[in-house]
């Protein structure tokens, strides 16, 4: 069977010594973690390895010997190294030797209790220890459900190096009986800024937790739960967004350490997302308040509302005449048209009543944009909803009228054919009607049928307007969702430190020489950007269409009121 030796590239220039690492017998591979140099006392080495094993739960042992001779092969050294094999008994005992500056090393194994005496092939795989230690292997998405750690050979290797972190803490400047060479043996790296931030983060987290508990206590107080207010809060999207962000802040400021990689990435993603959101919000705010743009905006708001109302009045006048050449029922037309016109007149009066206060309200509301760009977008969506409230009312009136008409028509059509709807059995049954019942029923049916085009036209026009507003609001919410759920920290990590997010490995065949073992270089294959977004997406209260196209069309045809967006977590009605 082929023997695979995973050798860290940082130990290529180490002095002679013995190799320590983990032997994975199921895969017949040896993962070498460090080189212990002479002089050493074997008992102390065994003691040290026992301690490391206890702390890291990785079965580290002495695997073989490493000889790096600058001049020609020294015979005595090679015999000495073979004798070491008897002290640290390990099956098989791996001997790697490098001569001078040659790239091609010779590798051999000593098997004392082997069944087959034939030479087994050896593959030497170089790996970058620091990158493999820091990297996180992502299994393919469909097999994420099964997930034993040694389901994949590679995850065993990555896991071994990652969990042996404590082995890499000693460097060559430490005073101790054991001298190791590994990727950090030239000195442990640390960054002052990172250490300072770690120290400062604890009190900051505690302060944030305290403030958040205050805020959430206020939010949950009974005062805000009375009926009109609670109804209002549920309709405004800004409250949902603020609640969502509050939840995020609670996740970040909790003082429980992240258990695993996923939680750590989620915390980091939320933190970066909040930071960017607030930065963009402050940018927007500074742009709005410079040159008094808020004042200009407030000044144009009333004329825009007036303009919309005028357009609606023109539309109603058109409907009251002969729209698109269709002939309407004059009386019903006039009634409906005048009703809606009066409604618009009322609405305009209310808007004009509010007009002196608009600028001040807008100025203070605009200040809340500093809480984030998403908050500003939600405010925009809510302002649009409030300004087009009359369109919503018209839609409801038109839909109710149309719905009533359709139900009446269907029931009278059944009467016309001599059938009846059986409520008990939930089906259509035949029924014998009296003559006067039939007469009145047919009359009413005819009236409703001939009034149908007028009602249908009003319903159609207002439904289209309502759908337009709904689409605009939906687009804004989609943008807010995007900003909320994009994992920016993961994307930045993939861009700058792509070895941290690994989809797998790739092997490169290095120069070969006959008679020497096969040399391969193992590099980390980073995750693709699409997979990064899919794995690390932040969950949001995303709104998505409640109905399929077919059921939406059916509801529109029957005149039922449509609420096209459904929020996750909302109860189905």
């Amino acid at each position: 069977m082929v023997l695979k030796v995973f050798f860290p590239s940082c130990c290529s220039s180490a002095d002679s010594g013995i190799l320590i690492g983990r032997w994975i017998s199921e895969q017949n591979s040896a993962v070498i973690l460090a080189v212990v140099h002479f002089p050493f006392i074997p008992v102390q080495v065994k003691q040290y390895l026992g301690e490391v094993q206890r702390v890291t739960k990785v079965s580290v042992s002495v695997l073989g010997s490493w000889s790096n001779s600058k001049q020609e092969k020294e015979e005595s050294l090679s015999e000495f190294l073979e004798d070491l094999g008897t002290i640290f008994s390990h099956e098989p005992w791996i001997q790697i030797s490098k001569e001078g500056d040659s790239k091609f090393w010779s590798c051999s194994t000593l098997q004392k209790h082997s069944n087959n005496p034939q030479e087994e092939e050896i593959i030497l795989v170089y790996y970058d220890q620091r990158k493999v230690m820091l990297s996180h292997l992502h299994p393919p998405l469909d097999t994420a459900a099964q997930g034993a750690e040694d389901a994949s050979k590679l995850s065993a290797i990555f896991g071994t190096v990652a969990r042996s972190r404590v082995l890499f803490m000693t460097d060559r400047y430490d005073e101790g009986p054991i001298k190791l060479t590994h990727w950090q043996s030239d000195g442990v790296e640390a960054s002052i800024i990172v250490e300072l931030m770690k120290q400062a983060s604890v009190p900051a987290c505690m302060l944030l937790t305290f403030l958040l508990s205050l805020v959430s206590g206020i939010c949950r107080s009974r005062v805000l739960k009375f009926w009109p207010l609670s109804f209002l809060w549920s309709k405004l999207s800004i409250c949902e967004q603020l609640g969502h962000r509050l939840q995020h802040l609670q996740v970040i400021s909790s003082n429980r350490k992240a258990q695993n990689q996923t939680q750590l990435m989620r915390k980091a993603n939320i933190f970066v997302s909040l930071l960017i959101d607030v930065a963009l919000g402050i940018l927007l705010m500074s742009w709005l308040y410079r040159k008094n743009r808020i004042g200009h905006l407030a000044d144009t708001l009333i004329p825009v509302a007036d303009h919309v109302a005028e357009e609606l009045q023109d539309l109603l006048q058109w409907l009251m005449g002969a729209p698109a050449g269709l002939k309407m029922n004059r009386a019903l037309d006039q009634v409906l048209g005048r009703f809606f016109l009066y409604h618009i007149h009322l609405w305009i009066s209310y808007i004009h009543l509010l007009s002196p206060f608009i600028e001040m309200i807008l100025w203070y509301v605009g200040l809340s944009a500093c809480l984030g760009l998403t908050v500003a977008l939600c405010i925009l969506s809510d302002i649009i909803a409030l300004l087009t409230f009359h369109i919503y009312c018209f839609y409801v009136y038109g839909a109710r009228l149309y719905c009533l008409k359709i139900y009446g028509l269907s029931s009278l059509w059944r009467l016309f054919r001599g059938k009846k709807w059986n409520v008990l059995r939930q089906r259509v049954d035949s029924c014998s009607y009296d003559l006067d019942q039939l007469f009145i029923g047919t009359l009413l049916f005819t009236i409703l049928l001939f009034l149908l085009p007028t009602t249908a036209l009003y319903y159609l026009v207002f439904t289209l307007l309502r759908l337009l507003v709904v689409i605009v609001q939906g687009l804004i919410h989609l943008l807010v969702d995007l900003i909320d759920s994009l994992p920016l920290y993961s994307l930045l990590l993939r861009l700058c430190r792509s070895y941290r997010l690994a989809a797998g490995v790739k092997f490169r065949v290095l120069e070969q020489q006959d008679g020497k073992p096969l040399r391969l270089l193992m590099q980390i294959n980073p995750l693709s950007y699409g997979a990064v977004v899919q794995t690390y997406r932040l969950p949001t209260y995303s709104c998505y269409p409640r109905d399929s196209w077919a059921s939406l069309c059916k509801k529109l045809f029957l005149g039922e009121l449509i609420y096209p967006w459904k929020h996750k977590g909302e109860k189905q009605n």
Partner: protein
């Protein structure tokens, strides 16, 4: 040692198969497709620019010319980096796994490594595409629950589409290495 042979792809374009044996259990098989020709590139560029110049003559708007240059550059970069595959190679390392690499014309390489424990077999399959029957080489992946089942089929050489004679060569080389794992003592 390396050897190179010429074959034809399913559409008739000339391709070259290069085999290298690195060691007794490691083989690399690379299929190289035709390179980007200078004359097709110049033809495409001239066509776009002639059309842009014609539009400019009609509309007297110089934005058309800048837009044409922009579009040509962006289109060329996208084509070289995402579409044109120069070489597809298969690296079979017995007892480690199979690595599939595609190299694009811009130098980008996209690699996938499949561990040997997941590989059930390497086979040649037939597919009916429009009016043709084409053969393709694919790797069958083992289903972890069902030892007889196949969880996924990974097709190889999709861009160069070699014909059956080339595929048989690749198949034979792969099978020689895959057989070694059956003769060796089984590992879990």
């Amino acid at each position: 040692m390396a050897e190179e042979r010429r074959f034809r792809s399913a559409c008739g374009a000339p391709i070259a198969l290069r085999r290298r044996q690195h060691s007794a259990s490691c083989r690399e098989l690379a299929v190289r497709g035709p390179r980007l020709q200078l004359r097709s590139l110049s033809a495409a560029t001239s066509a776009v620019w002639l059309a842009a110049y014609g539009l400019f003559a009609l509309s007297e708007n110089s934005m058309v010319l800048s837009a044409a240059i922009f579009i040509t550059l962006i289109g060329l970069i996208i084509y070289l980096h995402f579409v044109k595959i120069d070489q597809e190679s298969l690296l079979v390392i017995g007892s480690l796994g199979i690595q599939v690499t595609s190299s694009y014309a811009s130098g980008k390489e996209s690699t996938t490594f499949i561990e040997m424990g997941q590989v059930k077999d390497v086979v040649i399959n037939e597919a009916i595409h429009m009016q043709k029957v084409i053969y393709y080489l694919c790797i069958l992946l083992q289903d972890p629950e069902d030892p007889q089942g196949v969880s996924e089929v990974v097709p190889l050489f999709q861009s160069s589409k070699p014909r059956l004679d080339c595929l048989i060569e690749v198949y034979k080389s792969c099978q020689e290495i895959l057989e070694q794992r059956k003769t060796a003592p089984q590992s879990s």
